[in-house]
Symmetry: D2
Subunit: 331 residues, 4 copies
Amino acid sequence: MQFLSDNAASVHPAVWDALRAADTPDAPYDGDAISAGLDDKVSALFGRECAVLWVATGTAANCLALATMVQPHGGVVCHEEAHIEVDEGGAPGFYLHGAKLLLAHGDGAKLAPDAIRAVIDPIRDDVHQVQPHAISITQASEYGRSYRPEEVAAIATLAKHRGLGLHMDGARFANAVAFLDCSPSEAAGPVDALSFGFVKNGGMSAEAIVFFDPALADVARYRRKRAGHLQSKGRYLAAQIHAMLDGDVWLANARNANAAAAEIASACGERLMHAVEANELFVHCTAAEREALRAQGFGFYDWGADAARFVTAWNTREEHARALAQAIAGL
Amino acid sequence: MQFLSDNAASVHPAVWDALRAADTPDAPYDGDAISAGLDDKVSALFGRECAVLWVATGTAANCLALATMVQPHGGVVCHEEAHIEVDEGGAPGFYLHGAKLLLAHGDGAKLAPDAIRAVIDPIRDDVHQVQPHAISITQASEYGRSYRPEEVAAIATLAKHRGLGLHMDGARFANAVAFLDCSPSEAAGPVDALSFGFVKNGGMSAEAIVFFDPALADVARYRRKRAGHLQSKGRYLAAQIHAMLDGDVWLANARNANAAAAEIASACGERLMHAVEANELFVHCTAAEREALRAQGFGFYDWGADAARFVTAWNTREEHARALAQAIAGL
Amino acid sequence: MQFLSDNAASVHPAVWDALRAADTPDAPYDGDAISAGLDDKVSALFGRECAVLWVATGTAANCLALATMVQPHGGVVCHEEAHIEVDEGGAPGFYLHGAKLLLAHGDGAKLAPDAIRAVIDPIRDDVHQVQPHAISITQASEYGRSYRPEEVAAIATLAKHRGLGLHMDGARFANAVAFLDCSPSEAAGPVDALSFGFVKNGGMSAEAIVFFDPALADVARYRRKRAGHLQSKGRYLAAQIHAMLDGDVWLANARNANAAAAEIASACGERLMHAVEANELFVHCTAAEREALRAQGFGFYDWGADAARFVTAWNTREEHARALAQAIAGL
Amino acid sequence: MQFLSDNAASVHPAVWDALRAADTPDAPYDGDAISAGLDDKVSALFGRECAVLWVATGTAANCLALATMVQPHGGVVCHEEAHIEVDEGGAPGFYLHGAKLLLAHGDGAKLAPDAIRAVIDPIRDDVHQVQPHAISITQASEYGRSYRPEEVAAIATLAKHRGLGLHMDGARFANAVAFLDCSPSEAAGPVDALSFGFVKNGGMSAEAIVFFDPALADVARYRRKRAGHLQSKGRYLAAQIHAMLDGDVWLANARNANAAAAEIASACGERLMHAVEANELFVHCTAAEREALRAQGFGFYDWGADAARFVTAWNTREEHARALAQAIAGL
């Protein structure tokens, strides 16, 4: 019973079907009909015009999106525990040509306008200090917390006021939408670009960078090629995204994962470090308790010395979630 | 009847089977059992110890390989029509942090020691000029020409003598091996790293960077992550490579493609611009002749004003090749 | 009697005076009064509004100027023998974050619209090939040839038409102006930025980047700091530039150098490889002849196997030039 | 009576003399006799073999030094208030091609082994997190605190044990040596490279990068050119360094500055935020008190809302220091 991560789960049947259906030759790169259909489908989903680029990883999605907003001498305000800061092997430094991450605090790995101002207001407006060019927030956050639409809007207002780009890392955007029970457009708010994740949610190897400003997409297309992320058989990536969007598979999958997380959360009580607003649980428990859980067949990561992280996936079985809930309750 | 390129052909059944077989969760990134098995399999194939990294594109493979050999202030000797120079959107400049491509001439897009010396000998040994750090050759070349083992060996000797790294772009390495009818080890020669291509040869989205020096692989692992090329469900890439290697699918596929090319070549006579030593044909023909061929249902690229490029693939049907041969003969 | 280069000549007395006059504390970096006065002085010289940044070297000037016009995924059209390509240790690759130099041909190391079109027209308008973002020309060229105002204008028209930035490397701009006997504004034409050189012309360590578009200067200020070129005692650089401009020292110095070159040229006849339009001479002569000249006490560089390069400086003594002329005539 | 900074003070007479003495032509770049003499002189000073490169700024010195130790995918441990982090406009990101600064805490902007371990020990040894490649410390620190030789040695031991390079930013190295009253070698300890500052200490535009490992200098020479920091009239930089070293001008100047700071410190009592171990004072005082000081003619920077920073220079007059001391005492 694995709760290690959603990032290595198996692939959804609809994705497999779409991959097989894509197995007739078409134009290479993103010149094929399947890729060409993405803009319209995603635009319809968000209710406004989008330009969509597929890439294989969230790291590439985040960095290519940011590279359209941030000059090499600029900076990106992000949470000190954001994925781009902590877990992408320095990719932002590479893709942004040395631009700097400007780290902000915030409960649950979420940013708020005050926290952002606390970072950028002290920056002297001179050439000796790196000036902010963009803000990046994560929906849902590294701790599985979801921004409410008004929270995103408040950050967007600040960004606009300061002339900063706004990017949303949506590796688990689906889980946030499912939790918030709102439209994707409300969950994304007025960001300039969204890394819309599918791999953790039933895909195999395709994420979408959704640009709400087509001019940014035009730059990103060159940068994607330059980064070696323009696959020649791109139709197999585009097909995955279509499969996830058709019939709202992405939403159904996220709801499954969230429901499993909620089931487990219901047993955690005071042990929860963070409200469960997506598919991740951070649970206080001792080393002995973790050992006990592992002895019962549960797989998960330690989170520091006194906690564990459990992640549910699109295909987490209900009985496994229930079993874990009971096991935690029985500690 | 498409002869546009091999880069968008459909995926080989063995690859599909392997993909499906990989559809059980395992450790993410390259921590899974399938990825773990690559080093041994490729080492056996080449008869010497290799460290293997999968990536999604040839551009990423080439650039990550070169990044282990070339410092940002150095240069890479390559043919003036090499893919890294002409068709990778400036990716070497990105991955090598501004290192320079030092362009050499050579028939059939092949390099030879004299041509390399003509580039590097005039470089003054001072800080004002970019010094060469590596050589990159392409097997088979951009014009479908294959290096004989002794040709690679001569270049390797020069590289070693000058203290330069040696990289082989093997996007169509399989076709070269099939043409040369030698072992992979002979076709690769004593290079430091090989971009071993599978996507053009029946794969979906996996190329292998084969490092013959494990220390280089250690650097490349960091660079791969930093470039957003470490996919979380990496087992689906590793599975493709295994599928291509098992039972020598890679070689059978390449032989098919080469045979189709040879069939067509047999009808081209004096029209051939380059000897056909892989699966590409560059054929002199007028605009009117090209129009005539297209009217008969053949797809291909113009190659300048007076020629056409035809590329066969692993699944080019014999009757299509024969039809094209007859059509060309009948011009 | 040295004719090796103008780049190591001694410093003009007016520059020394200005340096000493600057030796009272003022605000650091470019916040001092001397630096503040540059914009007005250079604007008056060119008859249009300029923003001026001092830097210590021509390499920094060229690269910082280009960095405001060229994105990392773009390219710069320049002559294949341009200083930025041949003699700056790969600095453009560093400052432009991997952007590519796109090399054009041209007699006397000068570009012309046709030569530029021959480079950029074949570039496919897709993401696989590096797109041009700017053009860089050198006034006077690497071979001491000066662009006529109408030649610059023609290139500027092309640049504007194609949406490309236009940069002028003016390491020897003064010599070109002196030769052309026109205004600085005519010699620069409608370029976006000019690297206005002083070090080769009697300065110690200050070059000016002249931006005719102030928005570019705003970017360059950040990049200059980021490159470690914002000296804390910047007033000593600004003072040098003022000293060179006041009373047209720059022009008088260039006239001296050009006159010396003309004197020598008058003796060279058919030996001249290039018309002498600044302060450099490229002179056919055999190894034996070069030996003879050196035996008479003349210092200069060999230029390949069959020629020599002579460079005059602001302080080349008339009798030395005459002596060299006689020596060449006597070969 | 200026106490704003030492970075814009006037130039020492000995430096002027050396500049004038250098005003005869010699080989360009660093090929001149004056530059050639630096290695021996600095080696003698430190009692071990050094390779010395001049550059114009501390930012360039720091970044070129670090670029020899840190790969683009690595990181540099430094204090969270280090100059490279706070005041160099992102230059490390540029010079190190996106490598990351890993920020440590420490009183007085000094690092200690425990603080360094607190940063590097939690870094997972995998490709997802940026691995440390070097440590950079500042002697004297941003708060004018000097590392004792045993403190440097302890950090060097840690660096060696972990395989990390060790760099010392010595913008005010002279002041540290003067305060510590030890040899330069003891104050530098076993670092790999030292940015030996002269500009703040009476120079005009020359800092020395002292490499204790000549192999690092060989790389730095290429990087210096590539960064546009190889000035053609380099002898004027080398001459400044010689002038500062000859007769220990550097030490005398630093002693003057330190003595002035000590004089002021003696009046500050409890107001001092940091022990005064070089030529900087950080002094608690209210806005009203600062106003009062300014009304008496003292120039200085506010340091946040409740403090002021005073910096003395090589030429701070004793009576000015005394006057400031009395003014502070009288608050």
